[in-house]
């Protein structure tokens, strides 16, 4: 299990290889990437900030909970911090399970949970230079 906040680009290739095991038949990788256009709004860049110690603890708890709900063999979650551009990866979740239904369901529900509780925030900068912290 690896849980990480990082200011560097996320290496999803390495995450997949870390989750590959001979006892599992399914690997699911999810990447959240920055959209340039959402509705009528254009995004020039995003800036992510976190309460890092609690965010890592919270991500670890979410991963542990998932391991008790699904037969997950390996799991990695990496969230990017700092300024990132459209197209870049802000979050990556990778995990392996014996069968694919569990892998899809675990990965999706982990992502849903992360968006609800982990103390990480993004600030959107529009092409006009206006920046807003997003508090949904």
């Amino acid at each position: 299990m690896r849980i990480k906040l990082t200011r560097d680009p996320i290496d999803h290739q390495e995450m997949v290889e870390n989750c590959r095991t001979k006892s599992t038949g399914a690997i699911v990788l999810f990447l959240g990437t920055v959209r340039e256009i959402t509705g009528n709004n254009q995004t020039l860049s995003l800036e992510y900030d976190a309460f890092a110690p609690l965010a890592e603890k919270s991500l670890t708890e979410i991963a542990e909970e998932a391991k008790s709900s699904w037969p997950i063999r390996e799991i990695e979650i990496i969230h990017r911090l700092g300024t990132i551009q459209p197209g870049e990866t802000s979050i990556a979740i990778c995990l392996s399970c014996p069968h694919r239904a569990d892998a899809f369901s675990a990965c999706q529900q982990i992502m849903d949970k992360i968006k609800k509780v982990v103390p990480i925030w993004k600030k959107e900068t529009s092409p006009h230079g206006v920046s807003n912290w997003i508090h949904p």
Binding site: F51, P53, L54, V117, P119
Partner: protein, 82 residues
């Protein structure tokens, strides 16, 4: 009175103008009471305060949690990670 520290993030930090504040509060105050103290001092926090979560010493905490000298409280506005 006891001295505690409050951490502010994202939009809350912009409103307060600090990422960490030392604050004096009455002994045995709860997080809920701290929220009222913060609102009195920073009225523009209202929208975020009603929806904020809190952590004490890097663990999530509920509004009825009582605070002690030197506790570090994090004011966590609605999150938008992912």
């Amino acid at each position: 009175m006891i001295k505690i520290f409050v951490l502010f993030f994202a939009g809350a930090r912009d409103i307060v103008g600090h990422s960490r504040l030392e604050i004096e509060i009455p002994k045995a105050s709860s997080i809920g009471q701290l929220r009222e103290i913060l609102l009195a001092r920073f009225p523009r926090l209202e929208n975020l305060a009603s929806r904020a979560a809190f952590a004490v010493n890097e663990s999530f905490a509920l509004p009825d949690k009582v605070l002690f000298e030197n506790d570090e409280v994090a004011f966590l506005p609605p999150v938008s990670g992912g």
